[in-house]
Point group: C2
Chain length 117, copies 2
């Protein structure tokens, strides 16, 4: 977003410092598109939501989403307003995203997915 455009929205009060969306799409085994669910998303998102709650990160929103596209790259989550996409694979990945990005305000480079349209 250009600086000019960003300025037009600069005064909008923010509900959250960050808002995380995580894909809960579950397609059946063998489905040609695959899905985040088929790639093990559910326990990861369970851990993420529990961790956000346990850390009392009240200024962080967490919302289940439908298909975010790029199904083969999943499990996919995206963090706004930064627009950072992550593909965590393990519980440790989730913990690192929370510690480093959500609490530490820094990218977890190794888990970032750069997607192109």
């Amino acid at each position: 977003m250009s600086t000019e455009t960003a300025t037009a929205f600069a005064d909008v009060p923010q509900l959250y410092k960050r808002h995380i969306f995580a894909c809960y799409t579950q397609r059946p085994p063998g489905h040609p598109r695959g899905s985040c669910g088929a790639q093990g998303a559910q326990p990861l998102w369970d851990r993420l939501s529990r961790k956000l709650e346990a850390e009392r990160l009240a200024d962080v929103g967490f919302t289940a989403s439908g298909c975010l596209g790029f199904c083969r790259a999943g499990p996919l989550m995206v963090v706004y307003p930064e627009g950072v996409w992550y593909a965590p694979k393990t519980p440790e990945d989730i913990d690192e995203i929370v510690e480093t990005h959500i609490k530490g305000d820094a990218l977890v480079d190794r888990l970032v997915v750069v997607l192109t349209r």
Copy 2:
């Protein structure tokens, strides 16, 4: 987000100029929490997704979401990275959001919902 924090993420390539999330939660009639679906969300989101497609706004993401909270304020949608929440009620509201905000880079003040935690 502070300027300092924003700077830490300034180099992340963006998949979309904007990403819209719209709540598709449907609770049964009479449910005490209500839901966006019970307040007529579905035809509005249908119109929104068709309009984005018809206008070939390829740099705008549209994703179905689960419950965004604040169910009584719905139907709710949120536009990132601006973090602007809207509660459209009619097809004309949807058209105005697309024309004014998504294409015109300006707020639709009358449809903004300011939510607080």
